[in-house]
Amino acid sequence: MKKSFVTGSIKAIAAVAALTLLASCSSSSDSAAKVKACLALDTGGVDDKSFNASAWAGAQAAEAAGAEVKYLAATSDADYAPNIKKLVDEGCNIVIGVGFLINGAIVEAAKANPDTKFAIVDQDGKDHGPAGDQYPGAVIDNLQGIEFATNQAAFQAGYLAAGYSKTGKVATYGGLNIPPVSIFMDGFARGVAYYNTVKGKKVVVLGWDVAKKDGTFVGGFSDQAKALQISKNFEQQGADVIFPVAGGLGAATANQSMTGGKSVTIWVDSDGFVQAPQFASVLLTSVVKGVGTSVTAAIQSVIDGTFSATNYLGTLENQGTFLAPYHDLESTVDAALAAEVEQLGADITSGKVAVS
């Protein structure tokens, strides 16, 4: 009696297991034809209206080209490696890490899973050794780095700001003095300097010293009160175009532009007109980093079978970085200046003008 009950249950379990196995086999064979592209996001989450959101939008754009897309968001730094493993185990053809914090985990996963393709946004995708100090790093065959020459668009923004300024003073500040931030500030300052050379003017850049590679920083990306005070200080020093490179802290500057009425703001990373429409009346333009475009391109290369470990570099030419439209402030930008900025973009692409 007892024995037959046990065998009975074992049979039942076996039957269920077999069914499940069958079901899972059939479902995976369905999608085998499609390229499965998966994003491993950082802690910002998919709705951060910034980096992660752009990457996800780029992945969704690739859906039209016939990719199956999904993402996993991390709740803490400890989630990166497990999330990537989960995605690899699920049979993703390409796993894209979003954000430089996730870099270490992606590099390890790429080495451990040579059959899966990987990409990492905002990093060079090389193995720099256990201490991360070997430059240039070793190429990993199944890992593509995605980088952006944002200084190209920032250079244009600097030229525009210099031409737009009535007071002859423009300003920029950053969250922290780290390369992904300072590249914008440096491009901006050099753009202003280029304007001065071309036009024989003396527009001053506050907040970034090209020679010293140092300038004004908030010391983080969350202190809105400090960012607001820095913006006020810039206005008091006479700056009438301010370019904050501090993620969400740009809102503090745009606020000061609105309440003080003495300056306009240049948004960073994404088109501020779309992302922060409440500031539309003071946003001159935005220096956009095309995270979405780059992610779409990476997925497309897997679909086409052209994926390689050669890095993707977002430039003005491939729309990986660009200056957003002037939107509401279009009428205040001199047509000749707008044309010059446009031409400057072409000159940067052709190599006629060096941005660094």
Binding site: K49, D214, G215, T216, K226, Q278
Partner: protein
């Protein structure tokens, strides 16, 4: 004066203060004066807008300025030493000396540049606003014997509530009304667990901070970002110009052309300071903070009073939190208090648990913070990473040089159980 006898603590403090000043003056004379190679002039701009008399600009040769101010500081330091030997207060001399050293530093650091002096002070006040509110909340709690590590959480809760409510109603007044209540709610958690259940107050406060950060981050992600237009686009308070006072040169634009939150801050500081030292409530509060058993024996309900004061503290800190949103940028941002609650706590200790002392400490911190910002704009010989440490360095110098050993209220952090071992 008996030279052989030991110095009293207060004399020791004066001695330390006077000699620190002397040392710093010498350092300033050598560092900013003698080693100074730059002679480009420094321009101080004193005018902001709309004052009666515009002391517009004042230009000074940088090396001469450094020498002059350093020498002035030396004179003040020597004066302070004389005062100490005559067993008199040295506050005035310290303040003047500190100011002179600061001016010498500015002459050195901003050589060839312009310093917007009025803007510098106005920004300093604004950066200290949340610190002052936080420190006042600390005074209320700790003077009655409850450690309040949760100031950060109270500020953040206030900022969140004010931002969201002001956005939903499109009315800053509602934001200002709700913010203190949010702070008080956080205080209620602190009060119940610390006073009723005698939980370790440091751990409790820390946990409350983590809770508030987690809650606000969660709501920010799930509510404020997807529904930004309704939930997170609050209006901002506009400054109120006080008729005659706002026209006073230098002081007017700094103190009397501010938002209602800043005026409320003046009021709260004054009320807390006076009540703590001049009223029955204040005497009782200090008594339960120093010696609850004695207070109990004369019929003061120790835990009731503590409970009430902790809730008051929440109201004050919550209102301070409103500064971050309706007082400054309108919209709420993730963890936007950025550790200000902990700096407020430091200001409280550095100010020796006295309301006015804490205000001074908070102002010093805000000043160093804004000075750093302005100097980084004009460009200085000091790297920006180092400049960002300025507020903390200023605090360390002030604490070690001038404040010396501080003593917390004797029963701070010790739960009171009637009849229990204490």
């Amino acid at each position: 004066m008996n030279k052989v006898s030991k110095l009293t603590p207060i004399q020791k403090r004066r001695q330390r203060g006077a000699f620190s000043l002397l040392f710093l003056s010498f350092a300033s004379l050598i560092g900013f004066g003698i080693l100074q190679k730059n002679t480009a002039p420094v321009t101080y701009k004193f005018v902001l807008e709309k004052e009666w008399i515009a002391i517009n600009e004042w230009t000074l040769d940088s090396r001469t300025g450094s020498y002059g101010f350093s020498c002035a500081a030396l004179i003040f330091a020597i004066w302070a030493i004389f005062q100490f030997r005559r067993n008199k207060k040295i506050q005035l001399q310290s303040a003047l000396g500190g100011f002179a050293i600061l001016m010498a530093f500015l002459c050195w650091a901003a050589s060839g540049k312009m310093i917007p002096f009025t803007g510098l002070l106005q920004g300093a006040l604004l950066l200290s606003v949340p610190l002052i509110f936080g420190a006042m909340a600390g005074v209320l709690c700790e003077r009655s014997g409850v450690i309040n590590i949760a100031i950060e959480g109270q500020l953040l809760a206030g900022a969140f509530a004010a931002g969201v409510v002001a956005s939903l109603t499109q009315n800053t007044t509602w934001g200002l009304i709700v913010a203190p209540l949010a702070g008080a709610l956080i205080s209620l958690i602190l009060a119940v667990f610390a006073i009723k259940f005698s939980i370790d107050q440091v751990i409790l406060g820390f946990v409350i901070n983590v809770l508030v950060i987690g809650m606000t981050n969660f709501l920010y992600k799930k509510l404020l970002i997807p529904y930004q237009n309704t939930w997170n686009s609050g209006p901002i308070l506009s400054p109120i110009e006080i008729p005659i006072l706002s026209k006073i040169p230098l002081l007017g634009p700094i103190f009397f052309n501010q938002t209602i939150i800043v005026y409320l801050m003046y009021l709260i500081v004054a009320v807390i300071h006076l009540s703590l030292f001049k009223t029955r409530w204040g005497l009782r509060t200090r008594a339960v903070g120093e010696h609850p058993t004695a207070a109990d024996s004369v019929g003061i309900k120790v835990n009731n009073l503590r409970f009430r004061n902790v809730i008051f503290a929440g109201l004050v800190a919550g209102l301070g939190g409103a500064y971050f949103t309706v007082g400054a940028v309108g919209a709420f941002g993730k963890e936007m208090t950025a550790g200000k609650g902990f700096i407020a706590l430091a200001a409280l200790i550095f100010g020796r648990w006295s309301p006015l002392g804490a205000v001074m400490a908070a102002l010093l911190f805000g000043f160093a913070d804004n000075l750093q910002g302005i100097l980084s704009i004009t460009g200085t010989p000091i790297p920006s990473e180092f400049m960002l440490m300025a507020p903390y360095i200023a605090t360390i110098i002030a604490v070690t040089g001038f404040v010396g050993r501080v003593r917390a209220p004797a029963a701070d952090g010790i739960p009171y159980n009637r009849g229990g071992s204490h």
